[in-house]
């Protein structure tokens, strides 16, 4: 009988019991005996030399224990925060990698750069004292945008980075692409801005540093998606703490969306300060600090062209993108607009020649790094907008043009001209499933009905593909990755048959404690209650890379399967011994080990007991115990793909866009828990809608001040901004190279949604002579389009 909590079951989440009753344990919920509080004094200027810092008054302020500056850290030999991916320029030289100190040393480079740290008995006392610190700044002109950075006369963000260019990189075959354009019958063109976003996980970042002089051990509790990565980066590169003396714990984490992957200065500061102060040091960001100092996302300016033959077959794609890195290189910043963006520019299409150039620039803004989707939404948005423009130009239905150019499923595995090998995918099927769900045939009538009410209706499509579970490590390493990309798992059976699973992957909302337990329950035929999933503590779990890039199940789940394989292999031997049968005669089904052709059988529980109480056990052949560990390094990325369709209605009086319908059909390979998968899609869609219609991170061009530094100005999508969604998936094209056949679902919604929404908005505005509108399509922007162009209809 299939396990009711096994693979494919919509198991209700086990972690919810604590979250729903207020018993979660997020970093800020944790208090250490005798703890102190740190307050980060941040630069109010986007760009200024730090002439001097006078901390005398702060030091004598009530409750203050210490005040630290960059000089104190320098004196202790604290190093720069490292960047995890080295990119090479077109000419083969390495990118510019200026230092990024946890506390700025002689220059502040963005509003929010830390210039001093106060440690006091309470949060408010630390803050009171910070106001008494006198920093003498000499302001410099701020470079607040990509355009400003690349203006030949711009101020330099880093003196040794000429032109503010971090790297100038390319991918693809330029000559072949130029040739494709030379014989094109049609060319579609777009200039677009991929708007800068603030990730805004609802839990602000927080960190607690502790030091135990008795054994020289440091502990950092932090809001991280990947505690081992932090331990490696901070221990080895920044503070010089050997890994066996550094424990990093990421307890319950309230959302990440990429922003909690990176190693931040505050983590190093509290860890270092705890030893200096001799007491635990706790820091929790206020939301305003999160806006200033969490790594932001997106922020591209692109120009792209698509060459087609007379029939609309894609011949070549040329892309030039400028990407903002912010003031310093955050952990994975450099890989986002390169290996996670340009490699995805083929999309679902068999475009034979692609050439992409990416220039990454420094500006006096917060560092920019991965935000849900990381590079892939930018790629999808660019391609899917360009395809719509092409359809408009050719007078073709946008679905027909897509179909004409889809990579057929028979062509899988398919090597794209931008270095990826898609393993599986049935793109036509996604579209075939989705079109009837949205009654595409009835759209014209619906549009007319809206028009009769004075409203503009539009429909938009996005057929996306993404690459998840970035790997394999050796290839990524050759491309500049400075870390491995595998995942680990340990399956520890206890003597009475219950199981503890240790995973290097991390949950901050994804529900690992449920899905990973489903895998184990399914495999061994045991109740899910008997399985616990342990993650997030380097003192407990094997070395793992954490959770990002929709990798948990594809990579972490595969590691778990490998560990379970090892358990089963050993269990088989034990079963054979227990039943006095040949190992080759043992059959395994749902956790029962039977002797072929007999009614003899033992359960995994019996075997576990025998393994730990080895009275009847092949001790000369096997070690006692049933506890196996595995590492899994994927052979390839996985390629989730799908078709998202959005229908909008615009009120021409106000320019307000209302989403009437949003339908997503996705291929995530095999689905372990449909309830959780659908939840991931819903959340992703709203982040995509947020980018398309609401969210925008704006710095003042002149001063580099963050103008959208709170929820008063940065527009987060609320419940009444969005509708309910229709989501569906198929499992007909499982991943061929991992044992579960899973592809990953965490980012898909965000990747497809923004393009689908903007395509729908542009479609709704098609009578107004535009081919593109930049995100976010705010009411005023839409209204301006409507009022700037006399509608074709009205002109008649």
């Amino acid at each position: 009988m299939a396990n009711p909590n096994g693979i494919g079951a919509p198991v209700r989440r086990r972690e919810d019991a604590r979250f729903l009753t207020g018993r979660g344990s997020y970093t800020d919920d944790i208090n250490r005996p005798n703890q102190t509080f740190a307050y980060m004094l941040r630069s109010p200027h986007a760009h200024a030399d730090i002439i001097s810092i006078d901390t005398a008054d702060a030091l004598v302020s009530p409750g203050v224990r210490h005040v630290f500056t960059g000089a104190d850290m320098a004196a202790d030999g604290v190093n720069s925060l490292p960047c995890g991916w080295l990119i090479h320029n077109k000419d083969g030289t390495p990118m510019k990698e200026p230092p990024h100190y946890p506390i700025a040393r002689d220059r502040a480079r963005y509003v929010g750069d830390i210039v001093a740290v106060v440690v006091a008995e309470s949060r408010e006392q630390a803050k009171d004292a910070a106001e008494l610190i006198v920093v003498d700044y000499a302001e410099r002109p701020a470079v607040a945008s990509i355009r400003a950075a690349l203006d030949g006369t711009a101020e330099l963000v880093h003196d040794d980075v000429p032109g503010n260019v971090c790297y100038d990189w390319h991918l693809g075959d330029k000559a072949a692409t130029d040739a494709a354009f030379a014989r094109a019958a049609h060319v579609a063109t777009i200039d677009l801005v991929n708007n800068r976003l603030v990730p805004n996980a609802m839990e602000p970042r927080a960190a607690i540093g502790e030091y135990d002089p008795a054994n020289g051990e440091h502990t950092l509790t932090t809001t991280s998606q990947n505690p081992h990565v932090i331990r490696l980066l901070m221990g080895a590169f920044v503070l010089g703490i050997p890994e066996h003396k550094l424990r990093v714990v990421a307890p319950d984490v309230g959302g990440g969306f990429g922003s909690k992957i990176f190693h931040y200065g505050e983590e190093a500061i509290v860890t270092w300060a705890a030893k200096k102060v001799g007491r635990p040091v706790k820091w929790t960001a206020e939301r305003g600090e999160s806006f200033l100092s969490d790594a932001h996302g997106r922020d591209h300016i692109s120009h792209a062209e698509l060459a087609m033959d007379a029939d609309g077959n894609f011949l070549g794609l040329r892309v030039k993108t400028d990407a903002n890195m912010g003031a310093y290189l955050s952990t994975f910043s450099t890989s986002i607009p390169t290996y996670l963006y340009a490699t995805l520019l083929a999309g679902q299409y068999k475009t034979p020649a692609i050439y992409a150039e990416v220039t990454a620039v420094f500006t006096n803004t917060a560092p920019v790094d991965a935000y849900r989707g990381a590079g892939r939404p930018e790629a999808c948005f660019l391609i899917e907008r360009l395809v719509d423009i092409a359809a408009q130009k050719l007078g073709m239905d946008p679905t027909a043009l897509r179909r004409r150019n889809f990579i057929p499923k028979e062509a899988m595995p398919y090597l794209t001209p931008v270095a990826l090998q898609y393993d599986t995918g049935d793109f036509a099927k996604n579209l075939d499933m989705a079109l009837p769900m949205v009654d595409y045939a009835g759209f014209a009538a619906r549009r007319a009905e809206s028009a009769a009410r004075g409203k503009l209706r539009g429909i938009g499509f996005a057929t996306y593909i993404e690459a998840c579970g970035i790997a394999p490590s050796n290839i990524a390493g050759a491309l500049g990755a400075r870390a491995g990309l595998y995942e680990s798992a340990e399956v520890r059976f206890h003597p009475t048959g219950s199981v503890s699973v240790f995973t290097g992957s991390h949950s901050h909302g994804q529900g690992h404690e449920t899905t990973f337990a489903q895998l184990v329950a399914d495999r061994f035929g045991i109740p899910i209650e008997n399985v616990d999933i342990i993650h997030g503590d380097t003192a407990k779990i094997p070395f793992g890379m954490g959770t990002y890039g929709s990798r948990s199940l594809a990579v972490g789940g595969s590691a778990l399967v490998k560990a379970m394989d090892k358990v089963e292999r050993k269990a088989r031997k034990i079963a054979a011994h227990l039943m006095e049968a040949a190992e080759t005669d043992i059959e395994v089904k749902d956790g029962r080990f039977t002797v072929a052709g007999t009614d003899k059988g033992v359960t995994i529980g019996d075997i576990a007991l025998a393994a730990y109480v080895p009275h009847n056990f092949p001790l000369d052949e096997l070690e006692p115990g049933l506890d196996e560990q595995a590492f899994y390094d994927p052979k390839n990325f996985t390629y989730p793909n799908g078709c998202h369709i959005c229908e909008v209605e615009i009120d021409p009086d106000t320019g307000v866009t209302k989403i009437l319908n949003f339908t997503a059909v996705d291929d995530f390979g095999r689905v372990i828990n449909p309830l959780i998968v659908e939840g991931q899609v819903h959340g992703g869609i709203v982040q995509g809608i947020g980018q398309a219609l609401y969210e925008n991170c704006v710095y003042d061009e002149e001063t580099g001040q963050l103008l959208t530094g709170s929820y008063m100005d940065y527009c987060m999508p609320r419940a009444d901004d969005v509708p309910s969604f229709t989501v569906a998936y198929h499992e007909d094209a499982p991943c061929t190279h991992n044992p579960l056949g899973v592809k990953g679902c965490g980012e898909a919604g965000t990747i497809g949604a923004a393009a689908a929404v903007i395509n729908a908005v542009v479609n709704a505005l098609s009578d107004y002579g535009i081919t593109h509108i930049d995100m976010p399509a705010t009411p005023e922007k839409v209204w301006r389009v409507i009022h700037a162009h006399k509608p074709a209809m009205a002109a008649e």
Binding site: N31, G679, Q687, S724
Partner: protein, 165 residues
């Protein structure tokens, strides 16, 4: 300056000396160690800190502890029955996967309970508008809305509707 405040929190009367600038949310989290009530912003927008004061939902980050002196406060920790049975709204959030990271959840549930007490049979639109003071970054609200629908029915004495499978 310090003041003495006496409140009934989740059925227990507590008296504490507090700095007058202490916000209710800090009183709950730091002094009573009821950390289920979260802080998600500093501009009174996100609703993660929502609790009930004298039966009405308020943002505990935008109320002083001294203002709540003499009041009855219910936090997420006080919503379930003493025997641990989840409040129907809590159960509905679990059934309909109305939470992911769980950070917005206590505030969301407290808001939802308040909403349904005021309007026992809310429509989808009323639920969405009623939750405008609570931001969730994870769920896209879809399952939260389903959960509140189901939770409302269960609060009205119906049985908890199962998530469609």
């Amino acid at each position: 300056m310090a003041s003495t405040v006496t409140l009934t929190v989740n059925g227990t009367t507590v008296t504490r000396e507090v700095e007058e600038r202490t916000l209710l949310v800090h009183f709950l989290r730091d002094i009573l160690h009821l950390t289920g009530t979260h802080i998600g912003c500093d501009t009174s927008q996100c609703g993660a800190c929502t609790v009930h004061v004298d039966g009405r939902s308020v943002k505990s980050c935008t109320m002083l502890a001294v203002q709540a002196d003499g009041s009855t406060v219910t936090t997420i920790e006080g919503l379930a029955a003493p025997d641990g049975t989840l409040h129907p709204m809590q159960a509905a959030f679990r059934e309909h996967h109305g939470l992911q990271c769980g950070f917005c959840t206590p505030g969301m549930v407290m808001s939802a309970v308040d909403l349904v007490r005021a309007n026992p049979t809310p429509s989808e639109t009323e639920i969405r508008e009623g939750l405008e003071g609570n931001i969730c970054r994870c769920t896209g609200y879809h399952n939260i809305v389903k959960a509140v629908m189901a939770g409302a029915e269960a609060m009205n004495g119906g049985t908890l509707k199962a998530a469609a499978e």
